[in-house]
């Protein structure tokens, strides 16, 4: 018996959430006095998982699984759960992983607790703390099935180095017997830019920007910080920005280290969606904007004056501090 973690990679390299999931798996394994096995797909830097407490990596080396396929990935992970007799499966919270998680749950008749923010309260019974009510609360969820699936929130538990000896084994994929017949036709993805899911810093703007033509300074600020850009719901509803940038209760959740909200008043739905971010900064000309009550730092001022100043200041800062 071991703890199995699915470590997600992109073009052969592990994503940040893979190291977070591995760290979480390592913490669970310690509580249960066992070891961590990882399953990866066509990954090339498998040894790096040893830095985060993974002692064995099963790497599915299969060219037909280069592109994510929820059914086929879930089938291969289920097979690995069986072959390692794993009782706990650790997943990340990426969009792809949230796609395969319920398929895996059904295959294994395993209870699934998503959006988990800290190490289990206990492993017998198996109880985890997760966000609920769109970050307006937490639930302590007990998983009662023989096999337990835990989805770890982005940037919550964190990645923790804990070096162990690691062995790597290439295995073959499992054809999806339950046939989730979906085929990828085309992937449209911005390359070389931070995504809202993975970014350490997210720069977000709202209706206070007055129109889509004013987003240049938001993008420039994001560039300087290496940040992802996001927007409030009205902005995406108005078509000023693409839906993929909408963050909040019915949009994407944000769990970055730094969230900068510019010209966003802070409706309760927006605050819920971004509350998992560690440090929140508000720039708004209305001192009564509700966001100031939810933020750590703020500047009361006109975005059209403050943001260009901030860009210049940060350029100087980056030049001095590398």
């Amino acid at each position: 018996m071991s703890v199995l973690v699915y470590t997600e990679s992109e073009k052969g390299k592990f994503k940040k959430n893979a190291f977070e999931a591995a760290s979480y798996a390592s913490a669970v394994a310690k509580m249960m006095d066992t070891t961590v096995t990882a399953i990866a797909f066509n990954s090339t830097d498998n040894e790096s998982l040893g830095e985060y407490g993974v002692s064995k990596v099963m790497n599915v080396a299969d060219d037909s699984l280069t592109t994510f396929n929820a059914g086929a990935y879930a089938a291969s992970i289920a097979e690995a759960v069986k072959s390692t007799d794993a009782k706990v499966v650790i997943l990340s919270s990426s969009t792809d992983t949230k796609y395969l998680a319920p398929l895996l749950s059904a295959k294994l008749s395993a209870g699934y607790a998503p959006n988990v923010v800290q190490a289990p309260d206990s492993t017998s019974p198996f109880t985890v703390k997760r966000t609920a009510f769109s970050n307006k609360g937490f639930a302590h969820t007990q998983i009662d099935t023989d096999i337990k699936i835990v989805g770890v929130s982005n940037n919550a538990f964190g990645a923790h180095e804990n070096k162990v000896d690691v062995s790597v084994e290439d295995i073959s994929g499992t054809a999806d017997s339950a046939t989730n017949d979906t085929k990828s036709v085309e992937i449209d993805k911005v390359v070389g830019k931070a995504t809202i899911a993975d970014a350490d810093i997210v720069v977000s703007a709202g209706r206070g920007m007055k129109g889509p033509e004013n987003w240049g300074m938001i993008e420039e600020l994001a560039d300087v910080l290496g940040a992802a850009t996001a927007c409030s719901k009205p902005v995406s509803d108005l078509g000023w920005r693409p839906h993929g940038e909408h963050v909040g209760q019915t949009g994407k959740p944000v769990a970055s280290n730094l969230y900068i909200a510019i010209g966003i008043s802070g409706a309760i739905q927006h605050l819920a969606g971004v509350s998992a971010s560690k440090t929140k900064v508000v720039i708004n000309n209305d001192p009564e904007a509700p966001f100031f009550k939810a933020a750590d730092y703020g500047i009361v001022g006109d975005a059209f004056e403050v943001v260009p100043q901030l860009i210049e200041k940060l350029k100087d800062f980056k030049a001095q501090n590398g």
Binding site: P102, K183, A197, G298
Partner: protein, 246 residues
């Protein structure tokens, strides 16, 4: 085409969240319940298939009698018939099993649910339901076109989107993008009157696996006072030296 839209009855997005009974239950006192927003995008897309492609649209909800006003609203928007599975929706696996019975008995070609409910955020019902009924599954779906048995869909991925091809029968985990916010419909008086006459059947639950239990809830720690900076110099200094985020 026969469509089932799975609807979750959730607190309105503006609700303040409180817990009761020693923090073991959600406090429904003073809370207004609505169609889960992700489900409503799916329902509205289903209405489009009804009007443009002659589809029949049923809805199903797992819950006690208190969920019926939300179901009537879905009927007033234009769904043809409703099924309420008379059980508390305490666990996603259990809910999916109950809905799977409705799907098997109804012979649906397309099942649409929300990507997640905005209350318990489990995000598992559509996927488990697809597995239990051997239907194809597309999650976080932001565009859905159906031509005969062929499905063309777009799903959201981290940092972009992916176009997929698939086939009916299909389960979709939907969200905004299936239709736009401006496409959502407010029931009119005629719809509300007609909804009263539409069939809302109560179905008793089947035995199912309750895989998880929420034992206790808590609220986020109260937020400290915001620190207002007088200048961008001071803000950058605070972010670097105090928050240590840049």
């Amino acid at each position: 085409m026969k469509i089932l839209v799975c609807i979750s009855n959730v607190p309105d997005t503006t609700s303040k969240i409180n817990f009761t009974d020693g923090d073991t239950k959600f406090d429904t006192n003073g809370v207004q319940f609505v169609i889960n927003p992700n489900d409503e995008f799916g329902l509205t897309r289903a209405m489009w298939f009804k009007e443009k492609q002659g589809a029949t649209v049923h809805i199903a909800t797992v819950g006690g009698p208190s969920v019926e006003p939300t179901m009537r609203k879905a009927l007033a928007i234009g769904a043809d018939e409703a099924f309420r599975i008379n059980a508390e929706p305490t666990d996603g696996f259990y809910v999916a099993q109950q809905l799977a019975e409705v799907v098997k008995n109804g012979g649906y070609d397309l099942v649409i649910g929300g990507r997640e409910s905005i209350d318990y955020n489990g995000g598992m019902v559509p996927g488990i339901l697809a597995s239990l009924t051997n239907m194809n599954f597309i999650n976080s779906c932001i565009n859905l076109e159906i031509d005969g048995n062929n499905v063309t869909a777009v799903r959201e991925i981290d940092g972009g989107k992916e176009k997929l091809s698939s086939a009916l029968p299909l389960v979709v985990g939907g969200q905004k993008g299936l239709v736009e916010e401006s496409d959502l419909r407010i029931p009119n008086m005629r719809g509300i009157m007609m909804a009263r006459k539409k069939s809302l059947s109560v179905v008793e639950p089947v035995d199912g696996l309750k895989a998880t239990e929420d034992k206790k809830f808590d609220k986020p720690a109260p937020k400290g006072q915001v620190k207002l900076a007088d200048s961008v110099d001071q803000l950058v200094d605070l972010l670097h030296n105090e928050a240590k985020v840049i």
